[in-house]
Symmetry: C2
Subunit: 467 residues, 2 copies
């Protein structure tokens, strides 16, 4: 891009959002040009901070006219480089569109600007005696617009589903600059193709979500947490099945002993019990009455009798519940110092055990010095594979070897008809592997969708698919 071009673009941006809402200082470019992947060097042209859907539409029209690329930016907590601007793009940061309004107690809905922080919505719901159930580690920074763009999942999916299930309606600016108000917040609306669904999980490649009406739910009551020690992976599935037959679980997570030992070594939380097991399952359910607690205890005893569970604990207080949750939730942060290779994959729940074994086998065979840390949302078939860098190994060599691991992993994903990205999206990091989950003809239809909503390829180009 010539500098003439650049200054033309910058002056247009300033005309739309105001001079002080266009940032080109290095600090802003570095901050807003990347997400949590951190493997790409941010190189945006500018960061703009619109305050309304109209301004966003103007920006997109300018992009079509002056032929510059846009990267929509939320909380930038993504792990697939979906919000990275590494090629002179204009980053549209939705931070200023962070108003929560129009709460309706009967409909249990609330309108959110795309820039509303997930936790801000969770807190708002709580103030109304209600609950926004999509929750995950980065909820304190991620934004609702980004949650929708990536169809964010997290730790409560087994009961509450993904972000997709909580979007009653939305306003979106398409790649052509059209403003669509989709679904009018209706529960029932069978009037042709539900276009809303394409933008949910579309990673900002078809348009930018600027506002959304989010559904809230009844607040869960008396959440109890159980942590169970399980001697072998297969038994986790038996435990899941046994509990699901008796209780509506709000979470079913798992982690390996290796993962837990690292968390315990930090000394922040106590061990759940003395017995050591190869794996642990963490269950959560609403213990609203004694019957339900008794029911859970009966299933627990049955699982012990069957040899599926070695030991277990049930939370007796909110603090204990929180500590048990930390055994699972602190893993990611704890292992960060080992520069872990991370992968987020899924299969249908019943296929998880052989799928996990097969991945373990190939990694152990090829790189016996690699330490694998497993954890994840097992109730949804979603595994987070983490491999720690051996101490003596140089970073570059480790990542080279990990690239090979990725290919083996994705070949196994394909064999088990799984997903190369369960909840983290495609962005740039998973784009080369998309064909392991989506067929060539599906990808061709995806390209056609892109051409319909964004014919000039201005919206987050280079993410999800290449044209």
């Amino acid at each position: 891009m010539s500098s003439d071009n650049q200054s033309q673009i910058l002056s247009r941006l300033q005309g739309i959002v105001g001079e002080d809402k266009v940032k080109t200082d290095q600090d802003s470019l570095d901050t807003f040009g990347k997400d949590w992947t951190k493997i790409y060097e941010p190189k945006p042209l500018a960061i703009v901070f619109p305050k309304s859907t109209e301004e966003v539409a103007e920006l997109v029209k300018a992009a079509n006219e002056l032929e510059f690329a846009i990267v929509p930016s939320g909380g930038r907590t993504g792990l697939s480089a979906g919000a990275v601007a590494a090629n002179g793009e204009v980053v549209i940061a939705l931070d200023r569109m962070n108003t929560i309004s129009d709460f309706n107690a009967i409909d249990r809905t609330v309108r959110c600007g795309a820039g509303v922080i997930t936790e801000q919505l969770q807190d708002y719901a709580e103030e109304q005696g209600l609950f926004y159930p999509v929750d995950f580690a980065s909820a304190g920074s991620s934004q609702i617009g980004g949650n929708i763009g990536t169809n964010a999942g997290g730790i409560k999916v087994i009961k509450y589903g993904m972000t997709r299930d909580w979007v009653a309606g939305m306003k979106v600016v398409t790649g052509k600059g059209d403003v669509l108000e989709l679904n009018k917040d209706l529960v029932k609306n069978n009037t042709g193709y539900d276009l809303r669904q394409l933008f949910i999980g579309g990673e900002g490649t078809l348009g930018i979500v600027t506002e959304a009406t989010m559904r809230l739910d009844r607040a869960p009551k008396d959440l109890s947490v159980l942590v169970l020690g399980v001697p072998e992976f297969e038994a986790i599935m038996d435990v899941l099945h046994a509990f699901q037959n008796k209780l509506d679980l709000t979470a079913f997570e798992f982690f390996s002993d290796k993962a837990m030992r690292k968390v315990l070594a930090r000394g922040d939380v106590p061990a759940p019990f003395e017995t050591q097991a190869e794996y642990y399952a963490l269950l959560e359910f609403e213990a609203e009455n004694e019957e339900l607690v008794n029911s859970a205890m009966e299933v627990f005893e049955y699982c012990v009798e069957q040899g599926w569970v070695l030991d277990g604990v049930i939370s007796q207080s909110e603090t204990q519940a929180q500590n048990l949750w930390r055994l699972r939730e602190d893993i990611s942060e704890t292992i960060a110092e080992w520069t872990p290779y991370k992968n987020d994959i899924s299969v249908v729940v019943s296929k998880v055990p052989p799928f996990l074994r097969e991945i373990e086998e190939v990694v152990n065979r090829e790189y016996p010095d690699f330490e694998i840390i497993w954890f994840g949302h097992i109730g949804d078939g979603n595994l987070h594979l983490n491999i720690l860098k051996p101490e003596g190994l140089a970073k570059e060599e480790f990542f080279e070897k990990c690239a090979k691991v990725s290919t083996w992993v994705f070949e196994i994903v394909e064999k088990y008809q799984g997903s190369v990205s369960a909840e983290h999206g495609v962005g740039m990091t998973k784009k080369p592997y998309l064909q392991y989950t989506r067929s060539e003809v599906e990808i061709e239809y995806m390209r056609a969708m892109k051409r319909v909503f964004d014919p000039k390829n201005v919206m987050n180009p280079g993410k999800v698919i290449d044209l």
Copy 2:
């Protein structure tokens, strides 16, 4: 179409599905050429009965090549003429693809051919100790493929959602004849645009669903039914809100006294109680333990104190629960003898009272002799408006007047940002009114979707949108 052309088409169809699986006798043409709307005269060219996705794909490819139109046909219980073949189309009836297979107890999923009857799936689920929750009056005839194509709703949407929420994966033949296997039955799969969602509710205009993996749920326990007499419509919303704050309702329906009197007059079911009220609310919940029943009783008493409820009854047996349900479910059949005008509309729940009043006002003012019968899924904001033909009025004149009613109703729908079709789809009957719910630019994007998946317009042409 010339007769040469016709015989070329017929011979190609026979080549694909076999001679005896192509029907052209008048009886078959009449039966398979229409749905429950019955206002269009069926005129299909032929009815074909494929047995596999491959045969369906061959049929669609033949349609593209020989330029004939296809109407996909399920149980033909639709009320919007989505499955009517009135223009020499080839009807593809999925009846033979009715196998249920691959049940998985861990994943709680089962594979269904498109021709599986909804009730067949419900029964199958029950045999496995599980539950298929999408239910409605025509479940004994409607087929899963049609349920998906129309995103069927029904009486349990308040808790379980629409058909969309139960499709784990599907096989679909696009209008171009491509076979897509969508989502691989995964709970979590964030790998780009979720194309599955376009075919759900697409009314067979983008492609034909040939198989689907449906999710099943835990069977509900100890369902209790409450019927409450409510003196004025606004109070129904207060009652809904009060109960929802304390219980997870599995249904919340309403009907007017006029509707109930007609059902009672048939003498099949007893009145719920002696007190007469202008409206009745029917609630259902899982009375799993005494605490929940007490909780329901407390809310009931509170509602009586507030003057929102005049009288009420809670089912004491399964038979009584069924009889209470019949007060609601028998309405449609009961009023059929009055040749009713029917409309299926929705708004967000909180706007239902003024919306209903406004419709009543205009109809009462313009046609004071028209008797309005209201009922519907009030917990979802979904109203079924029924107007009975006055005895002295000729059918033709009644329908002419009703066409005017439709326009007034849809203008009010637009004012309240509602839907011109809550759950019955667009088909042909709602197509002229689509713009009251979907903006012109939305409809233009819908046309673009159609051009992508069905560029030669062979799939159910003339339904949902015109190109």
